[in-house]
């Protein structure tokens, strides 16, 4: 019981400990430090701007996706061209074979 009232008293003391608190004062050199900070934040040059842009995640994702799309397109086109060439070769072979066979069957021609 005695402890309980002691605790309550201490809690009230803590809650009222900020009564009449003075405002903390900032460092007198704060303005100089802010100026230094602003001076260090120089605008970016063209190369720095380009590097900054290239390292943006959104741009990197777009570049990777574009690269993959171009790769797919080129691979697909190559495959179609190869198939077309093979088809043409087969047709030529077939035509040549068929022509020679016809000659064998009709020796009078």
């Amino acid at each position: 019981m005695k402890n309980q009232s002691k605790i309550e008293q201490r809690v009230e003391q803590a809650l009222s400990s900020l009564d009449g608190v003075q405002r903390a004062q900032a460092n007198p050199f704060l303005f100089t430090r802010i100026q230094q900070k602003l001076a260090n934040k120089q605008p970016l040059g063209p190369w720095e701007k380009a590097a900054y842009l290239l390292t943006r995640p959104a741009l990197a994702v777009v570049v990777v996706l574009a690269f993959l799309a171009i790769n797919l397109y080129v691979a697909n086109r190559e495959q179609r061209q190869r198939l077309a060439r093979e088809q043409q070769q087969y047709e030529q072979l077939f035509a040549a074979e068929y022509n020679s066979n016809l000659n064998e069957l009709n020796p009078n021609r």
Partner: protein, 191 residues
């Protein structure tokens, strides 16, 4: 210089006007940041960030609120951002300490003693600040602006973008939570 003149000169990049703004409101910004981050060096960093942000975003300031309200808003935002980033680092510190050689917590903050509290109340105020640090963000902001900066409920509502009843409710809950935490703390330490 009136606030409108000041804003006009700041928008034109007048360095003297900027110096005037910093010297006029530096203690207000620093004291608010100090109450929230509870560390003098961190509060100075936050104060610097606040004025850099103000300098960079003055073109977007329409003068609808007072300069002090605008600076309070930036201070609260920067302080809360700082605390969130510190919390993330602290979590990492805890994990790191689990695997450390001495098996001790890497981050163990010292007691915060506010320089504006009268010396005979410093210790008990440090216990209050420890409890304050455990409050949810909004309750903490409302409490600091009211008790450390002496703002009225209407001004706090303007800074926080809330209504006056909402601020009153935040303060009531803050006080209740502080009481709970302090009671638990003293139960452990006085018995």
């Amino acid at each position: 210089m009136t606030e409108l003149e000041l804003i006009d000169r700041l928008k034109k990049g007048d360095q003297e006007a900027f110096r005037f703004m910093v010297t006029s409101w530096q203690d207000m910004v620093y004291n608010t940041a100090l109450g929230l981050v509870q560390n003098e060096l961190d509060a100075e960093d936050v104060a610097q960030e606040v004025f850099v942000k103000a300098y960079e975003s003055i073109q977007g300031f329409k003068g609808e609120s007072k300069v002090s309200t605008w600076l309070y808003r930036i201070t609260v935002t920067k302080s809360l951002d700082f605390l969130r980033s510190k919390k993330r680092k602290k979590r990492f510190g805890y994990v790191y300490s689990l695997f450390g050689a001495d098996n001790e917590l890497v981050y163990n903050p010292p007691e915060f003693l506010h320089p504006g509290v009268v010396s005979e109340r410093k210790q008990v105020a440090a216990e209050l600040f420890k409890a304050l640090d455990q409050l949810p963000e909004q309750q903490k902001v409302a409490f600091v602006l009211t008790r450390l900066e002496g703002l009225g409920h209407k001004e706090v509502a303007e800074v926080m973008g809330n209504t006056v009843p909402a601020v009153e409710s935040l303060l009531q809950r803050a006080k209740l939570n502080l009481k709970k935490q302090l009671t638990a703390f003293y139960k452990q330490n006085l018995e």
